[in-house]
Symmetry: C2
């Protein structure tokens, strides 16, 4: 039985709590939130607290708070030499207070408040300063049903950056498509199957192999027509830059 204490009450902490509480081999010992109201709903399932000094012994402490608060929260912990991990893609493992055994338990997924989440779809990227601390974190990830990967800080940094491209920037492509479609009262809904298909395609083949379209074909006639249809200068700039990027990738 692994005892785990959660620190923080945002989306990541809440999804982790809901998943960990169901696992027989894991005991969620305490859940800390600065604002007790946010987690009071769970008080019959776990010992909740808003006083960091009441935290008792656990095998692993998971800090899932905003990036800027991680260092301070870790420094305020009332113990030392215990295994403490944060869940951030971009914060250095050394930002955790040096009195602690330190690691990172980074779930590479987009967490939203409402949607239920299957941790099978959440790769957990694990980093530890001491390799002796890796197995227990791996075990927690496996109990969650997640793919697990040991990564170093540099790898975590680039994955977090790459995630911005496949999540935020991709979502902005959807947003621009929405604006373009609506400019002629065409339904964005018609594009939804294509959005899914595009994402599914790269599950099996590389993005390089999956590419199609006017930029890859160097179809200057279609590219010119598209640019003439765009009313927004930013949309035009994005079209030009990404068309050039595709041409570079495919040697045009």
């Amino acid at each position: 039985m692994i005892s785990v204490t959660l620190i923080g009450a945002g989306n990541v902490a809440t999804h982790l709590f809901k998943a960990l509480i169901k696992i027989n081999q894991i005991y969620v010992k305490q859940w800390f939130s600065r604002d007790l109201n946010i987690i009071t709903h769970y008080k019959n399932q776990v010992d909740i607290t808003d006083d960091i000094n009441t935290l008792t012994d656990a095998d692993v402490y998971i800090i899932a708070v905003s990036d800027d608060a991680i260092a301070q929260v870790s420094a305020s912990l009332p113990f030392k030499d215990k295994l403490v991990v944060h869940t951030s893609g971009s914060v250095n493992v050394h930002d955790l207070d040096s009195k602690l055994k330190r690691g990172v338990f980074y779930p590479l997924q987009s967490f939203s408040k409402k949607a239920t989440l299957d941790f099978a779809d959440v790769p957990i990227c694990i980093e530890t300063l001491d390799k002796k601390d890796y197995p227990i974190l791996k075990q927690i990830a496996l109990e969650l049903g997640s793919p697990v990967k040991k990564i170093n800080s540099d790898q975590r940094k680039v994955l977090h950056l790459a995630a911005v491209y496949v999540n935020n920037f991709t979502n902005q492509m959807y947003r621009i498509a929405h604006e373009i479609a609506e400019s002629e009262a065409a339904e964005f809904d018609l594009l939804k199957p294509l959005i899914l298909e595009t994402a599914k395609k790269v599950q099996d083949i590389s993005p390089y192999m999956a590419q199609t379209g006017p930029a890859k074909r160097n179809d200057t006639k279609t590219i010119k027509t598209h640019l003439s249809l765009l009313k927004s200068d930013v949309h035009k700039d994005i079209y030009k830059l990404l068309t050039q990027s595709i041409k570079n990738t495919h040697g045009r």
Copy 2:
């Protein structure tokens, strides 16, 4: 029973053939390809031909050839006043020869050679010069199990343009993420669940509502860190432009 003749032997024509041949209410009368070798495999299922002058009477002729060839192929048809449609997102319906009853049967999806395709995931956008020709095209789309939408030329043009953003440009985001991950020998595979989740999210909520990340939060510290990690100037330019675009969208 609706009789349909297919003209062309690319991905769209082949996927259409494979789906239409299974439908009881539709009879695929002939299949024309300039190069008979490409469709000779299907000669026991349908009358195949490489001589345009041998095309006989059918209710609907579907021209699924490259954009540039549509006008010429339609002009070479050995009949007039028959309903002929093309399947292109960007070609004008008037590019079809005026001796014909003209329309467009545009499947808004990415067709690849190998993958099997469920036409339930292929919205068919229909345009006809004469509204009397709409019902038969709608019936074919419904028999395919596709969502059907009547659209005009302007709507089709912007949908085709929007499709470049959600398909080609999005796929290039995946490609860049692949390059960034590999620069530190991190696995692109770890990003695949996030790619799918990002596409699934906008099936239910708008891209505007779905947006998250440093650009939306105006998290200048993370943005600065990301820019310092990027080695490619094009990747940097794309990061800056899309970050600005997200800021514009969300009023930052």
